[in-house]
Symmetry: D2
Subunit: 92 residues, 4 copies
């Protein structure tokens, strides 16, 4: 089971909703809807993606990273380096 | 025609690719793939969305906002206020 | 006068407050304060900077960009391209 | 010693440079410099702050969070919840 096991259904529900939102924007573009309304929808999807990402980050820290730390220094080091790399992609 | 008329096909292509990426992440979650690999995909979608948003913002400024400015002060004022509100959603 | 003329004093006040916040964080680091408290302060400075940036962006659009648009297509084009480049730095 | 002990001097150097950059922007505003040049400087400070924040986040995880995880489940839980809260401020 992945670290996000307990949130798996919640994550899938969020991702399906995001997929629906992306299809909704495609329709808006096809129908020449007003740019600012589309921009507002894009920001909403970005927030929804960030929220899904944060759930994964939390589960990952609570699961994989915590386990690596308990397994000793070498594993801990590489798990935390990997976590930090993942964080950088989100912050920047 | 909307301000993004000339980029309509490009935008639709980008949004369809984003939809495919979101479906790809759903599969990764269903198959209990490694959290960090999913996080990297989420960051990639965020970038792709930002790029689509920036195309819309540029087209909107070049189209609707420029037209409002040419139409005189009152229209210009409300168009720029609206643009700034849209920017805030992207920056924050 | 720059496009941000009417907000000049407000911007300077904000920037002086940000300078004070940055010095406050230096003291926290010198005194080995708790990492999370420092991180919270860093996020606060980031928000304050974003707000200053948004004021500048709005003033710039209302001032320089609007003027360029009124001056005709060539000037408008390069002003909007430049604005979009500035936006990209903020969004990414 | 704080979790960021080994990076303390590096962090202080970064924060002093950021303080100098903020003062530089104040001068630019006082001298009515071009808005876009100021915006570019603001983006540069934001990046510099993000980098300082990422160093703190990494040190915090490697130090405080790892220690809490080694100390058992209760402490681990609250340390990871706190870390996630700090992350949210950075991502959003």
């Amino acid at each position: 089971m992945a670290s996000y096991g307990k949130d798996k259904e919640d994550l899938l529900k969020r991702l399906r909703r995001i997929e629906g939102q992306v299809r909704g924007i495609q329709r808006m573009v096809e129908q020449d809807k007003y740019c600012v309304d589309i921009l507002i929808q894009i920001s909403a999807i970005r927030s929804a993606l960030d929220n899904a990402g944060l759930i994964l980050l939390e589960d990952h820290t609570r699961g994989c990273v915590a386990k690596a730390i308990r397994n000793g220094n070498d594993e801990a080091d590489s798990a935390i380096t990997e976590l930090t790399e993942a964080l950088k992609r989100f912050v920047k």
